[in-house]
């Protein structure tokens, strides 16, 4: 069905379609619309999930862990400080190999209080063992949420998935949305290690170095397998519903001399900048990095690269720029832009390309070429 929706409403619509057994959530700006919409679905009888209005995000993830292990599909949504408050349980969910799906509406961290878009919140959870996907449109927020459950619940993966969408810049922006009848796209929830009182097992007891180390390797092995599973799920989604995105969304990259790498809504903005630059005769392309964990293989050989980071690792550099550098060996022009919701237009992005200085870093509007 074709409709219009915000990014938040699109996520909620996808959750309604997958019918989780349990949803546990705590409100935080700009995620609130997701949990409000789901509460409406449950109250109106449009969704038969058990909704737990927990008293904190730490408890939201703990409740999802208990429910997921108990044998049902689970979902939660958070943002920024909420994500950081649940950090301990974010690690726990992955270590316990539970296919929980969480929407994270990317937002800056205090102080001072700032509710606008930034990716530092998600990147602070980078090493938890969660798969992370970043979306750029309302449609993609819907599609990625549907696919997240199928990817997470695949027995070769059995890891949680975080669907990231930019605060306000996508969460509260209305775009067209094509919803689907998912049919049997998502099989019934089946967790091989679900709690079974007829086969009592102990979960997460004290574990010595040799076994613990093996379990860690098992997470990485699944993370590596997840690349293939993501591709398979995207392929099936495309066959059934006619849409797919891939680990990156490449725009006019085939013959490009310079490629802009960005994430989320800035990655979509970069496509407009590319059209402008092409009009000036600059052979530019853009590569919107969608999957951040597992990190995809990137084909950037022989190109100049401009990376836009809506994040920063203090004392080191932009997280995406560093990832590109270490994965491809290319020294990008690193632009730090959009922190705390700073406005970055396609004209600004075109300027980043025009004025690029490979190997250098710029804080857009604050400090040039440092």
């Amino acid at each position: 069905m074709l409709t219009i929706a915000t990014g938040n409403k699109a996520v909620a619509a996808a959750v309604k379609a997958v019918k989780p057994g349990v949803i546990a959530a705590y409100p935080i700006t700009p995620q609130t619309e997701i949990v409000e919409q789901i509460a409406d679905y449950v109250t109106e009888g449009d969704l038969a999930s058990r909704y737990i209005p927990v008293e904190s995000e730490h408890s939201a993830m703990a409740a999802c862990i208990g429910a997921s292990a108990g044998g049902v599909r689970t979902f939660t949504a958070t943002s920024s400080h909420g994500l950081l408050y649940m950090h301990e349980m974010v690690h726990w969910a992955a270590g316990a190999r539970l296919p929980i799906v969480m929407a994270n509406v990317n937002r800056a961290l205090g102080p001072g209080w700032n509710t606008w878009a930034e990716h530092t919140d998600a990147f602070s959870q980078r090493d938890t063992g969660w798969l992370q996907v970043f979306v750029g449109t309302v449609q993609e927020a819907y599609d990625a949420t549907l696919m997240a459950f199928k990817i997470a619940e695949n027995e070769r993966v059995l890891l949680p998935v975080m669907v990231n969408l930019d605060g306000f810049a996508l969460s509260h922006i209305m775009q067209s949305l094509e919803t689907v009848e998912i049919g049997d796209f998502l099989p019934p929830y089946r967790l091989p290690h679900a709690i079974d009182t007829e086969n009592p097992c102990v979960y997460g007891p004290m574990t010595g170095p040799a076994d613990y180390f093996r379990f860690r390797w098992d997470i990485e092995r699944s993370m590596r397998d997840a690349r293939g599973v993501i591709a398979d799920v995207e392929r099936e989604f495309a066959e059934r519903f006619g849409r797919s995105n891939g680990p990156t969304e490449d725009y006019r990259c085939e013959d490009a001399d310079v490629v802009v790498v960005a994430m989320g809504t800035l990655g979509k903005e970069a496509e407009v900048a590319v059209d402008r630059l092409r009009g000036e005769g600059v052979k530019a392309g853009s590569m919107r990095l969608r999957w951040f964990r597992p990190f995809p293989d990137l084909d950037l050989a022989g190109r100049e690269v401009v990376v836009i980071d809506r994040d920063y690792s203090f004392g080191f550099g932009g997280v995406v720029a560093h990832s590109i550098r270490s994965k491809t060996g290319i020294e990008p022009y690193s632009v730090i832009a959009g922190l705390g919701g700073q406005e970055v237009t396609y004209d600004d992005i075109a300027d980043f390309v025009r004025n690029r200085h490979p190997g250098e870093e710029t804080w857009f509007g604050v400090s040039d070429h440092v």
């Binding site: 057994g21 737990i52 904190s56 208990g66």
Partner: protein, 317 residues
């Protein structure tokens, strides 16, 4: 019909027999869900309690365990001393994890008991937010706090549940403040059932767990669990120490069902004529060199608790 009446009578007398029969330990099921050879310290009373909790709960039960002595007692992967599923979870998260599990079972139509078995630190300190949330939401579960009045697992640091004057590794001069009154905090959530228990009275504990699990909603049992290495008394005195806590009315056994308080048998006599508090204090190294002022304050607290609970049971405000 006479036949029906006879059937009814015999059913009733069977019920009476059953009720009578749990008044002695031999009526407690022989099945074990906590095996021998746990990693518990010698004289550990909390593992003794767990044994009876699980006998009362039976095999269709899941134990949710935050970081506490029971994390250690259950044994090390891949071995286990447990014969029910145990879900280990982070320190602050037990009540919330149990909330999710309880809702998952409800959505699957399963009637499996969800029981949190948590220490005092994981309950009165770091876990109290999750505990409060779960009780406010009316989660269908049983939360059991076994209270050895300090962080035992990490080597006896003080918790909010450590009593006034007790020496721990972080209160080497004795704790300057009183024990947090967990039961009044839980009571403020108006749970359908809450009770206190003590490891030295396993039959009382068994019956309270049975009753708690027969009621829908958020139930709570607070067990005093003496700890030989933490309280510094000889291991063979662990039952005696629990009995002294009750006989001196330092610890009062009761249950509160839908708000109605009933003092449990062993505490009725103790509240009328408590044994001297010295009997409880003198055998414990943690209360060594207690000042007369602190001792007086402890005695006043005992007296205050007796008065408060007596008035409540009598319906006097």
């Amino acid at each position: 019909m006479p036949g029906n009446r006879i059937a009814k009578l015999s059913l009733q007398s069977m019920t009476n027999i059953n009720e009578r029969s749990v008044n002695n330990l031999s009526a407690i099921p022989k099945e074990e869900y906590l095996y021998k050879c746990t990693s518990a310290c010698a004289g550990c009373s909390s593992s003794l309690c767990l044994r009876y909790v699980l006998k009362a709960a039976g095999p269709d039960s899941v134990l949710v365990v935050p970081a506490c002595c029971t994390s250690v007692i259950q044994g090390m992967y891949p071995g286990t001393a447990m014969n029910v599923p145990v879900y280990n979870i982070a320190f602050a998260a037990a009540a919330a994890c149990a909330s999710g599990m309880s809702e998952a079972f409800a959505s699957l139509g399963r009637e499996t008991n969800v029981i949190v078995y948590a220490g005092d630190g994981g309950t009165v300190d770091i876990g109290i937010q999750a505990l409060s949330g779960a009780f406010e939401r009316g989660t269908n579960f049983l939360y059991i706090c076994y209270d050895n009045e300090a962080y035992g697992n990490t080597g006896m640091q003080r918790s909010g549940s450590t009593p006034l004057g007790a020496r721990t590794t972080t209160t080497p001069g004795g704790k300057p403040t009183a024990k947090k009154d967990l039961d009044r905090i839980v009571e403020a959530h108006n749970p359908p059932y809450m009770a206190t228990a003590c490891s030295a009275y396993p039959l009382d504990l068994y019956k309270k767990v049975k009753k708690a699990l027969s009621i829908e909603g958020a139930k709570f049992i607070h067990i005093l669990a003496p700890c030989p290495p933490g309280w510094r008394y000889p291991t063979e005195k662990t039952v005696e120490m629990g009995k002294l806590a009750v006989k001196t009315a330092q610890w009062i056994l009761y249950e509160r069902e839908f708000g109605k308080l009933a003092i449990s048998g062993p505490s009725k006599a103790a509240m009328k004529k408590p044994a001297p508090l010295e009997d409880y204090i003198k055998g414990q190294g943690r209360f060594k060199n207690l000042s007369p002022e602190i001792f007086d304050a402890m005695r006043q607290q005992v007296e205050h608790n007796i008065q408060r609970l007596s008035r409540e049971e009598a319906g006097v405000c």
